[in-house]
């Protein structure tokens, strides 16, 4: 946003479009005279038309177009012009270069076909494999047909991932030769890079859903494109159901559902047999190999396979799919070491190994696009690169040059079971559809090979057909709150593509009721309505809203922000001890939440003293990137709190209740995430009401074994852990969440008897106080 303001002094900004004179050639002279005119507003373009004759300037070919009746030819002409039809500025050199490559994309050949279908229908299903250019091109085709300056309405294109929304927006801004944040912008959680001129907006699907809470009919948009619908994220699924309803009310709204996979028929039949348009991707055949026997250790087998490819296969880059950061870094290290040996011993070519996962800093993520290394000497064996990635390289990311794919068949997937209320990321086998997608990555440049580290029989028998959509694997508390706010009354019959299990819905309603966001009749309460204003989980939102009652809303705001970003702690493999020592400096004996807060305070303190923060973070083994983004999140949340008159207060630091208040405030939202120690010398805890046995995650700073803890998340690996815990007192539970901690509703067991004892104790203490008076 700031960049955009700083450069708005660009002289050609004030250029106007006009319908005047037919002799476009003369326009170039007049443009200069138009400089300095009042700001041009594209939304008011139609009102300018009458007066256009008085204005000098560039005659945009767009002005002659009839909305929803354009042709591919008209558009190519407009694109070929010397001046940008949207801004009137002369096109840059780079623009034409990009334009040429755009014309080579598979979708371009079907531009007219696309327009014809688009004109004929309200809802359209578009299938194009990754690399067909659909994400960048289709929204632009729509833009040239919707002509937003005529209607004042925007075009939205949703993306499941923040990074994708940002990078695609940047790319499309380049393609249109405009500045990101002006005509083309993006909007993601905690970051909005759009302006008054924005016509095309890339956004996360969750962000569009949040917008709809205040604009039930999505009236700001004339066309909504749901991209990567095959990924079936929770938000996309909800959006599809909503748009299905809205489409019936708003006949002027067009909807395009874009999918990269073949099960598009499912989308088609869901949207009343909408027409389908398919664009073939640029794919080459991929030969698939299976292992004869199942693998004992898939990571080791992966490393072995990569090395084998490097030793025996001709030139071409390798893509290996693994499940998470730790595993990926481990594999990268092992491959690099082995390759060094191979180079020494058998004159192998050089190989560069790059990790790729979501929490990797963007600059490092970018490195995967580097060229493969040159041969070590002239005429030597060719070099290659090997990318070791999570499933983010499966669909959304296109890396050219990949010829070999190694697929062990696993990915980390979110899973939620409403019965045990266990929600976690878990390494699970992928689906057949995923496996096909992965294999397809090998055939982008030329015929490729895919090595599946499982048997063909296992592929057929063990893998499910399609990955379960996220809605079936998630806690829906947040979604239900959003739906309530969106005005959906009947959640039971809400027309979702794949409705969740009834128990999942039941739990969500129940949790929202305990949080007092829904009343007993299922109606949204004032608190619930307020909580939905925060782009946070309902429990966290409620915690934040209640924090002034505990005199610590400033602190809770900080803690919430720190919990909303990836971990701020850095623990490199080669300096674990040092990192732990540094973390210990911030440690608060009562728990991890307080430790986070201490680290943040230290960070802000150092910042105020003008320290070099990058250096400071490096020295203290803290992530500058994540702390900064926490700081940004905090500012955003603070704004929301201020808007809704939520008081920002703190207990004086010297007050002995400073930390106690914070610990109590945590419970106002997280009272459903509490665990009690099994027995006095055990390390095992039992989660309240769900009776799951858990241990405290080794990353904790808590050393004394407290009897009761509140936890931020449940982590399932081969063991069950709770992560980010803080010591609490059971009396607080009875006081802060009396409905949830109504002892009568508990099932027989240690927790019930412990709570009864506490109730009794509290009762007696009060009796003594009463009689003493």
């Amino acid at each position: 946003m700031t960049d955009y303001n700083s450069e708005s002094s660009d002289p050609s900004k004030g250029v106007k479009r006009t319908n005047m004179g037919e002799d476009g050639t003369k326009d170039s002279k007049r443009i200069k005279t138009a400089n300095g005119d009042e700001q041009y507003n594209p939304y008011l373009a139609h009102t300018y038309e009458d007066s256009s004759s008085q204005q000098n300037g560039f005659k945009s070919p767009l002005d002659q177009l009839e909305r929803h009746n354009t042709t591919a030819l008209q558009m190519t002409k407009a694109e070929d012009g010397e001046r940008n039809p949207w801004t009137g500025e002369p096109h840059s050199q780079q623009y034409f270069k990009i334009l040429q490559s755009r014309r080579d994309l598979p979708v371009h050949k079907q531009r007219q076909e696309f327009l014809d279908t688009y004109h004929s229908t309200q809802i359209l299903v578009f299938v194009g494999e990754t690399g067909s250019g659909k994400t960048t091109q289709i929204p632009q085709y729509v833009l040239f047909d919707e002509l937003p300056f005529q209607t004042g309405k925007l075009i939205a294109c949703t993306q499941p991932r923040r990074v994708a929304a940002m990078s695609v927006a940047q790319r499309v801004a380049n393609e249109l030769d405009v500045k990101l944040g002006e005509e083309v912008g993006y909007s993601i959680r905690f970051e909005n890079k759009t302006g008054p001129k924005t016509m095309l907006k890339y956004m996360t699907d969750g962000q569009l859903l949040r917008e709809a809470m205040h604009d039930h009919d999505m009236t700001r948009y004339s066309c909504i494109i749901l991209d990567e619908a095959h990924e079936r994220t929770l938000a996309t699924d909800i959006l599809m159901a909503l748009l299905k309803q809205i489409a019936a009310r708003r006949k002027d709204l067009k909807i395009i559902v874009m999918s990269a996979t073949l099960d598009a028929q499912k989308f088609q039949s869901y949207f009343y047999n909408a027409p389908l348009l398919a664009v073939p991707g640029r794919t080459h055949p991929v030969e698939i190999f299976y292992t004869p026997e199942p693998e004992r250790d898939y990571v080791e087998a992966s490393v072995r396979t990569v090395l084998q490819i490097h030793a025996t296969e001709p030139e071409g880059d390798i893509l290996l799919f693994l499940t998470g950061e730790e595993e990926i870094e481990d594999a990268c290290r092992r491959i690099s070491l082995e390759v060094d040996d191979m180079i020494r011993e058998s004159d192998a070519g050089p190989m560069r190994v790059y990790p790729l996962y979501g929490t990797l800093p963007p600059a490092q993520q970018q490195r995967i696009f580097d060229k493969a290394p040159e041969p070590l000497r002239k005429g030597g064996r060719p070099g290659r690169k090997c990318i070791v990635s999570t499933n983010i390289a499966e669909t959304s990311l296109t890396i050219d040059g990949i010829v070999y794919v190694v697929d062990p068949g696993f990915s980390k997937q979110k899973i939620y079971n409403p019965r045990s209320r266990v929600e976690s990321l878990l390494v699970s086998p992928i689906s057949k559809a995923s496996a096909q997608q992965r294999a397809g990555r090998a055939g982008r440049t030329r015929p490729g090979k895919c090595f599946r580290l499982y048997t063909e029989k296992a592929f057929k028998k063990e893998l499910i057909e399609q990955t379960y959509p996220e809605i079936l694997r998630s806690n829906l508390a947040n979604t239900v709150l959003e739906l309530k706010k969106l005005g959906v009354e009947d959640l039971v019959h809400f027309d979702l593509m794949d409705p969740p299990a009834p128990e999942t819905m039941m739990r969500a309603l129940e949790e929202l009721n305990y949080l007092a966001c829904l009343d007993d009749d299922g109606e949204l309460t004032k608190l619930g309505s307020l909580a939905s204003e925060f782009p946070l989980d309902p429990a966290v939102a409620v915690m934040l809203i209640s924090s002034p009652e505990f005199y610590c809303s400033n602190e809770m705001l900080s803690i919430t922000s720190l919990l909303s970003v990836p971990s701020i702690w850095i623990r490199p493999n080669n300096a674990r001890k040092r990192a732990d020592e540094m973390k210990a400096q911030f440690a608060h004996p009562d728990g991890d939440h307080l430790t986070l807060l201490n680290a943040y305070h230290a960070f802000k303190g150092a910042e105020q003293q003008g320290t070099d923060m990058k250096q400071w973070c490096h020295e203290h083994f803290l992530s500058f990137r994540h702390l900064s983004s926490a700081d940004n999140v905090r500012a955003q949340l603070k704004r929301i709190m201020e808007t809704h008159d939520i008081e920002l207060i703190s207990t004086p630091f010297q007050d002995k209740n400073y930390y106690i208040n914070i610990r109590r405030a945590l419970l106002a939202g997280f009272f459903m995430q509490v665990a009690m120690r099994e027995s006095s010398n055990s390390k095992v805890y039992k989660t309240v009401k769900d009776d799951q046995l858990v241990m405290i995650h080794p990353s904790t700073v808590v050393t004394s074994p407290y009897d009761w803890v509140v936890y931020n998340e449940f982590v399932l690996t081969t063991k069950q852990y709770v992560r980010t815990v803080t010591n609490i007192r059971p009396e607080w539970l009875l006081e802060i969440a009396p409905v949830y901690y109504d002892v009568d509703t508990f099932e027989k067991g240690e927790i019930k008897s412990a709570l009864s004892r506490v109730t009794e104790k509290v009762r007696r203490r009060q009796a003594i106080k009463g009689s003493g008076r």
Partner: protein, 339 residues
């Protein structure tokens, strides 16, 4: 920014804090608080304080025992599986009434899957989930298919063994029992015939005293086994009774004045203590019998049935002796014929 602590805190803080850091975990009130109450079972003797303390200590010990990793893992899994298998919707699970369910009922939920009432245009591919997806934890870094491959191999091996050996073994055992029964019949028949022959005249000749080889091979094994057991029993008995072993623990000395009677009394005599008669040829090798014993049970059975029919016109399956050699009335030689 929260470093600058904004407005001063209000005078009263809502915490009750401070006064109690005592350990509520170890609190035990209902019992001693009201000893006269009927908390303990009326039909049982009230627990004495000593008993209670012992019981509590016992319980505490059980609780306090540090569990092994494997135990913990098993408990974790058990708790997870137990929770996952318990539907929240079935009233039989006696869960507290859920307000969430009540809200859903208000929206018209009557069971089954969620989703649009109008199923006409929804694709058949739609997953209409009734049960939530289960959480399954993967063990370590095992590849896909390893677990099931291992299970399959185990199952196949068990089946291969089970199908052939196990069932065959069971069959074999059943037939062996029949063989034994048939041998007993043969012995009985034989004795009956001898009884018939010798009429009450001579002293009854026991099988034990006659040479084994005179017994038809089909049931000789029965007698031999019995003889052997008898011999072993007697030898053991003799051993236990023998003086040398009885006195083995006592100091022995040679007394010149000991006469034969003394020696006999003390068990030092070499004179035979007891004698018993076994078949003369018990210790001899019996190749004929060994060959018969090595036959499969079914074959032994067949030979026995044939023997009984031939010698005694007796059908093992009919359990009847027939008067005529054609055995008129018996359906056949095989067991199946008698079904």
């Amino acid at each position: 920014m929260s470093l600058t602590h904004p407005p001063p805190a209000p005078p009263s803080n809502p915490t009750s804090s401070s006064d109690s850091e005592d350990d509520y975990m170890k609190m035990t009130f209902p019992d001693d608080a009201c000893p006269s109450s009927t908390h303990s079972h009326p039909h049982k003797q009230p627990e004495t304080s000593l008993q209670r303390r012992q019981r509590e200590r016992r319980e505490a010990e059980i609780r306090a025992r540090v569990k092994s990793k494997a135990e913990l893992a098993a408990e974790e899994t058990a708790a997870r599986e137990a929770a996952q298998s318990r539907s929240l919707l079935l009233p039989s699970n006696k869960l507290p009434k859920s307000k969430g369910l009540a809200m859903m009922a208000k929206m018209g939920f009557t069971g089954g899957a969620l989703g649009s009432k109008d199923t006409s245009n929804s694709s058949t591919a739609t997953l209409r989930m009734v049960e939530p997806i289960r959480v399954a934890i993967k063990d370590g870094r095992e590849g896909i298919g390893l677990e099931s491959e291992r299970k399959r191999k185990l199952r196949e091996a068990a089946e291969a063994l089970g199908a052939q050996t196990k069932r065959a073994k069971a069959d074999e055992e059943g037939v062996e029992r029949l063989v034994y029964a048939a041998q007993r019949v043969a012995e009985m028949m034989d004795e009956e015939r001898k009884d018939g022959l010798t009429v009450a005249g001579d002293k009854k000749q026991t099988t034990s005293s006659r040479p084994l080889k005179s017994i038809p091979v089909v049931w000789r094994g029965l007698i031999r086994a019995r003889e052997e057991t008898e011999r072993d029993r007697r030898m053991r008995h003799d051993l236990e009774q023998s003086h040398s072993s009885r006195l083995g623990l006592l100091p022995t000395y040679t007394d010149a004045e000991e006469d034969l009677d003394d020696k006999l009394a003390q068990g030092k005599s070499a004179a035979p203590w007891t004698t018993y008669v076994t078949a003369d040829d018990l210790d001899e090798e019996d190749t004929e019998l060994d060959a018969f014993n090595a036959l499969p049970a079914a074959e032994k059975m067949q030979k026995l049935v044939e023997y009984l029919r031939g010698e005694y016109r007796y059908c093992f399956w009919c359990k009847t002796a027939y008067p005529d050699p054609e055995m008129d009335g018996c359906p056949g030689i095989e067991e199946e014929d008698h079904d």
